[in-house]
Symmetry: none
Subunit: 129 residues, 4 copies
Amino acid sequence: MEWQFVDNAPIYSQIIQQMKLNIASGVLAPGERLRSVRDMAMEAGVNPNTMQRALAELERDGLVYSQRTSGRYVTEETSMIEETRKTIAKDYVKSFMESMNRLGYSSKEIADIVENFEGEAGTNGNLKM
Amino acid sequence: MEWQFVDNAPIYSQIIQQMKLNIASGVLAPGERLRSVRDMAMEAGVNPNTMQRALAELERDGLVYSQRTSGRYVTEETSMIEETRKTIAKDYVKSFMESMNRLGYSSKEIADIVENFEGEAGTNGNLKM
Amino acid sequence: MEWQFVDNAPIYSQIIQQMKLNIASGVLAPGERLRSVRDMAMEAGVNPNTMQRALAELERDGLVYSQRTSGRYVTEETSMIEETRKTIAKDYVKSFMESMNRLGYSSKEIADIVENFEGEAGTNGNLKM
Amino acid sequence: MEWQFVDNAPIYSQIIQQMKLNIASGVLAPGERLRSVRDMAMEAGVNPNTMQRALAELERDGLVYSQRTSGRYVTEETSMIEETRKTIAKDYVKSFMESMNRLGYSSKEIADIVENFEGEAGTNGNLKM
DNA sequence: GTGGTCTAGACCACC
DNA sequence: GTGGTCTAGACCACA
């Protein structure tokens, strides 16, 4: 797992965000065992307590669960994962629409642009706007 | 003008980005006179040289022009502004689509979601996804 | 017999309490032979002297009696057992009522709640209060 | 505020429990300002971080809220307080009923006893059981 | 001053 | 080894 922290936002909260994203997108599969707190902390270059705090919060949210002696696991309740996925997507959409609106694009125009978006193909140069 | 700088990225490039955005969105109107480099630098809390470098690059791009004696102005070539607006929008769209794809949403699904997006109205809580 | 010791309170008094409870609730039947002091001490993880002291006090109270050669037995006087049962229950009730009163429940309200208590059935979630 | 910790249970969780009780019973009034984390920690003889953790959890539960610079306050939403009160009471009732059942008292008998409970008056000696 | 975050390092229970 | 808790002490933003 790749870790990348910026400024301002608390590290533990960035960890939560990134793990949520990885779980929601399936990078971390349901039921998959996570590495130990200490390992992940070392990997991310943070204090084990910070990682522990983030994982505890994810556990409270139901996205991971821990088994006393064997480690932590991604939840197997796919409904919970699906909900997380939707929540993240909603945030993306909202933020995107606001940015586009600020640029003067109407919701109708945005819909057209998105509809005709052709992804990476053609170096994205032929996107009609 | 509000300034806000985040992480690692060079300050001057963040300044460029924000000014481009303000010009593209009309916060800075075509032909509008910019404040002096010194003033803007103070306002942004950066070194005047940094602000100077950013403005020079914007000038090279044609988004602002300077008149030796009276100061700097936002370009009046609306086609150039429009192009900037499209470029920024393209980046937004590309980044948005990639994020959504990463979350497992197909382009078709994204188009549906965007089409039915209703903005802030209704607390956005009932956005169907 | 399960042993469980908590905080500050002297171990021997906790032993007395638990044995009284077991006798009052019939876990230890009237006339039942108790295991040896040494065995019980080992089982409870306490010093034999501590267990001995507890048993001596129970004997003084009349809840157990010893026969020189064959060991200790739970009393067969059911009236004594019944009295112990009542005493423990009184303590429970008193402590319960005080806690509820402290929470602002009147004796009348408490009576209502207890009357309508339905135990574990229905996950106890719909207990009206 | 009086603090009292026993063994086994984590201190932060005991703090939470005691504060919940104090809020539910009105010892800490709605809207009342709490002492600073550092003060309460010193008062309770625990590390400020431990107290901080307990308060953060109470805040997540909505029983207290914090204002960045001025301190923490008991929630003013009495409905939330009332709910907490009911939850604690339910636990009391459940635990009480189980203990009494274990002693061989039927629910009917318990109801009778509670109904005729006369509180502290008369040294509680005349409680009919 | 307030709350909030982070680190470093310790100890515990469990198996 | 695992997760969980606790302490001690530091730093930050806010106003």
